[in-house]
Symmetry: C2
Subunit: 346 residues, 2 copies
């Protein structure tokens, strides 16, 4: 009789361990096993059709140099105890000022031949956020996004109003011609030619590095706070003051200290429809997924299945990072106290 009860007890115990392990074990395991890095920072410069055969050694070296310089700026801030928000903002300012990327100087042209810039930033500690859509004279849209977060009661300002707000805040403004770059102008001409020949206006866009050069940055600082930011010129030949996912909190950008900070790049319409940045946070919070598992699922399963080209960068509260993309390349890099890497191709 005694043996029987022992066996019963054993069976129940094994089952209980099995039950607890299956339902909530994943999260517990992570928090005890992982050590928190003092700081970490991840950047992207856009995902798209970026193949080794289409890129000469000099161009590759230029991109790698720019990515490394961006990491330097962020690392310097974080190493010295600066905030994740400051790191994200200043790294993105650097990327906006580089003509290599589709953000700030280097932004693509709209159908009508203008440059309309979008950016957003979010603080993982407070859930405060700011964004601008369609600004045309703001030198660094990410600074305008931060000013919206800190100096206005709103989250998203657009078009002429957002320009006006930036002027009132004393931010650097430029003449619209500042954003002209030859390569982006030519990209627009090629696109308009293509449209004239066959593609009907309004056709879904093909993935293309020149269209998807959004920049973004996510960071963890020494205080344990996360932040995320994204900045872009949008899609080449976009029309009707179109706004993509980059300035949309929950689509292109999200940050929550309890889960992760995320910045997306790709065909923005798909990222809006799937609320990609918030979905990263939700999968980690509700399913107990790691930042890598959530990123892999969303980019390489969910988005791939519906033809949504692009990628994202994400970082969790331990400094664990993910940089999944479903295109042939994504300009990217990360830095921690122990490691630094930049990459372009798959």
């Amino acid at each position: 009789m005694k043996t029987r009860y022992s066996l019963l007890f054993l069976a129940f115990s094994v089952s209980l361990v099995f039950y607890l392990g299956s339902c909530s074990g994943k999260k517990q395991q992570q928090s005890t096993e992982k050590e928190r890095l003092p700081y970490a920072l991840v950047i992207h410069g856009g995902a798209g059709t970026i193949k080794p055969k289409n890129m000469d050694a000099e161009t590759k070296a230029q991109y790698e140099k720019a990515l490394n310089e961006a990491l330097d700026i962020g690392e310097n801030i974080l190493k010295n105890g600066g905030t994740a928000l400051d790191a994200v903002e200043n790294v993105i300012v650097y990327l906006e000022n580089s003509p290599l990327f589709n953000a700030g100087k280097g932004a693509v042209f709209t159908y009508e031949g203008h440059n309309e810039l979008d950016a957003s930033i979010m603080d993982g500690k407070t859930h405060k956020a700011g964004a601008v859509g369609g600004v045309t004279i703001v030198k660094n849209p990410i600074r305008a996004a931060r000013a919206v977060m800190e100096k206005s009661p709103h989250v998203l300002l657009t078009c002429a109003g957002a320009n006006r707000f930036a002027i009132e805040q004393g931010l650097d403004t430029v003449s619209p011609e500042y954003f002209y770059t030859e390569s982006r102008w030519e990209a627009l001409q090629r696109r308009l030619e293509k449209e004239k020949k066959k593609e009907p206006v309004g056709a879904r866009e093909e993935p293309d590095a020149h269209k998807f050069g959004t920049v973004g940055c996510v960071a963890l600082d020494k205080q344990g706070n996360l932040a995320a930011g994204t900045s872009t010129g949008g899609l080449t030949a976009k029309r009707w003051n179109r706004i993509g996912d980059s300035p949309i909190i929950g689509a292109g950008t999200y940050a929550d200290n309890a889960t992760c900070a995320v910045s997306c790049t790709g065909h923005g319409e798909y990222f809006i429809r799937e609320a990609v940045a918030h979905d990263m946070s939700a999968r980690m919070a509700y399913l107990g997924e790691s930042v890598q598992e959530a990123g892999e699922h969303i980019i390489n399963e969910k988005l791939k299945a519906i033809g949504g080209a692009g990628g994202l960068i994400a970082i969790d509260q331990y400094g664990q990072i993910a940089m999944p993309f479903n295109t042939s390349g994504m300009y990217r890099g990360y830095v921690t106290p122990d490691e630094r890497k930049v990459g372009i191709f798959k």
Copy 2:
């Protein structure tokens, strides 16, 4: 020996049932117990400080009549086999045309004394979505949102570009003066007076029915498809082409046949920062919560804790509905083949 094995088997079986029941039982239980209603539709006309003592019988009757007429329009479409999208669009057109609500005719005024309208719509079957932000001459912004979804490659168009798109699509346009209503103009003057006296520009807004009169509709049709839509004039005295949550997919509006259709109303900035509409869908998908549980948690716990005033309407694939709000009132109503109700106060 045989008895021992039997007992062991029994113990494991009981434990297995316990395990399955705890981890995924909620969802299974729902799908077997619940019957799917042939159709159902829910509407809101905004949440805010709406108290019986501030509303005379005549005004109350006007609102109830309008809510019932909106339900008539939706029910008629759904009963005759029309789509959830058509029901949502046409119900919102009716609410936009009524001066009682802060959407279309009846929209609040911006700081500069203009009317800038936002709207969005989403199809739960395809995840396709369309939205406009800051249109000024489009009689029915919800029709423009649907045109963006169906006739453009984009999801969100804004400001002058969105106006132009609506004209190109042949939608009804009006002179900006069409949107003038005396009560909204007076609300702006009161607000500006208040600001002059004490409140600094940029102070967080207080909940107020005149500020939060957004309209929305969610529906389940006979084909089992869900759709959601939202339309608004935004916040009284909003500035700098501010856009709130209403045209943001994932914030003010979301629809997914697998989970729910949602339309939000309230202090939009909070709804953007918490990605409320997508969070409804995520909690149902990942935590197995019912539409009521998810709505209750988000509105009366999460948002309440951070001072985010407002409410939402939601419907799941079975026609189960939720209408939570954390303000003193929300104009609302629902209709199913068996039941119809409209309400204003708590």
